[in-house]
Amino acid sequence: MRAAALSAVLDAFSAPYMQRALVEVALLAVLAGTLGTWIVLRRLAFFTHSIGTAAFPGLVVAGPWGIAPQLGALGAALGFAAARERLARSGRSDPDVATGLLLVAALALGAVLASDVYPSGAGVDRLLFGTLIGLTPGDLALTAAATAAVLVVDAAGRRSWLATGFDAGSAPALGVRSAAADRFLLLAVAAAVVVALDAVGALLVVVVLVVPAATVRLLANDLRALRLGTAGLALAEGVAAIWLADGLDLGPGPVLGVLGGAVFALVALLRGARG
């Protein structure tokens, strides 16, 4: 009985497109464990979500303009980040308000471009919610390259991010160059978001980069446990989502979203019940 169930699961992952999805999920789990931890600790969840949404118009125009979707997304995301930085620095609006305004503008611009300028039809769903089972080897290579780059940036910036997040006021006296390190953190988040777009779409990047880390954060009391736990949970949720989506004929991105949210809610409830 148990052997038959195992065989059914293994069979489900025998197709090449499912194996590519597995590899992508494994790479995204490394990104989640590395960057997701910082996103949650440094309170960048809203920024991460907004970068994903800001990339939407870039994804829409990439096809008609004949450029790689990741390049279009990166251009739009960087434009968004620069505009947000300028608005926030001007002191005329709170950074979160600036993020919110630009996020809505990006989503509206993307919707107009997709519906009226470059009619995309069902393609919009794919841009917003991703297609974990429709990835090419090129997509995987890009995610692998971004993951390797993020691991290097993490090794270089980890101590600065920790000291700055712990107490930004005293970090410079520890020899930490907070501003430069934080810029690299935001760039790394933007890169991670862009490579995750193919798999989970513009609206669901937080499902991979924020939700697992936020879930493990409810339980973990040290950084190492938080990073390893987040990577493990992201991998488990990703594999389960692919398998469930394939069996139920649903989109893997939304399934991953529902699964991640349910696990978070369950852990939060159990933790609350334990007091």
């Binding site: 600790l41 101590r159 920790l162 997040g165 712990f166 520890l174 020899g175």
Partner: protein, 247 residues
């Protein structure tokens, strides 16, 4: 020879608005300097100016090597997943290149620093779960790991428990004996009398010198204004009304 000092130091956080002005003092190795000021009187601003972190600064600062800074504990994120040892280890960040792991010697130094502040058995405990006094001692341990000749401490004795206060004051004595210079922002006038020098600020510098000379009732009046309550004959004892506390 001066370990830490300033000449005509002034500056603030916005252009054209000084939070600190006309500060000139000089402290030698092995001296403990109390920095007395009312709320908003420039204590923290002076420490930031000495660290070179004040956005707008005029005048000169003299420092014998890098200074270690001990902030107030409430500025730290208590929800961070860091143990006491992790926080103490931050003192070694400046001397560790980004591509290297923290050296074993630095880990030993952090453990020794925690032992020195009486928290060896709490090394693995989460920083946020410690008491206010214990957290303050961890931050002092972090400064010890930096091994700096000058320590700048922002109200290290405010709101700490008696055991922590005793431990911190004993440590000050040891650091003084090692020839380190301590600049300690404090509200406690009585405590300041026990140290080597007193720098009184109220935006501008009111007085600087040994406590016996600097802490006259006139200086205290100019430093604290309406916050000051003089007690006893000739104002021998003082009480500073502040945050509802009296010292």
């Amino acid at each position: 020879m001066s370990a830490v000092g300033a000449e005509g130091l002034a500056g603030g956080y916005r252009a054209g608005t000084d939070a600190l002005w006309d500060v000139s003092f000089s402290a030698g190795p092995g001296e403990v300097v109390a920095v007395l000021a009312p709320n908003g009187g420039g204590k923290s601003t002076l420490l930031r100016a000495l660290l070179g972190e004040l956005p707008y600064r005029r005048g000169t600062v003299e420092l014998a090597g890098a200074a270690a800074y001990v902030p107030q504990t409430e500025r730290a994120r208590l929800d961070f997943p860091l143990g006491a040892l992790d926080v103490a280890l931050m003192g070694a960040y400046a001397r560790t290149p980004w591509y290297r792991r923290l050296a074993r010697a630095d880990r030993a130094a952090a453990a020794a620093a925690l032992e020195r502040v009486g928290l060896a058995e709490r090394a693995g405990e989460r920083f946020g779960a410690l008491s206010g006094g214990q957290r303050q001692r961890v931050l002092i341990a972090r400064a010890l790991v930096q091994d700096a000749p000058v320590l700048l401490l922002d109200e290290p004795l405010s709101g700490v428990d008696a055991a922590s206060a005793e431990s911190i004051e004993a440590l000050f004595g040891e650091l003084r004996a090692e020839g380190r210079t301590l600049l300690v922002a404090t509200h406690d006038v009585c405590q300041a009398r026990a140290w080597d020098q007193v720098l009184c600020l109220n935006g501008g510098q009111v007085a600087y010198g040994p406590p016996a000379q600097a802490l006259s009732s006139e200086v205290l009046q100019r430093t604290y204004g309406a916050e000051l309550v003089l007690l006893g004959e000739g104002g021998a004892a003082v009480s500073v009304s502040h945050h509802g506390h009296a010292h």
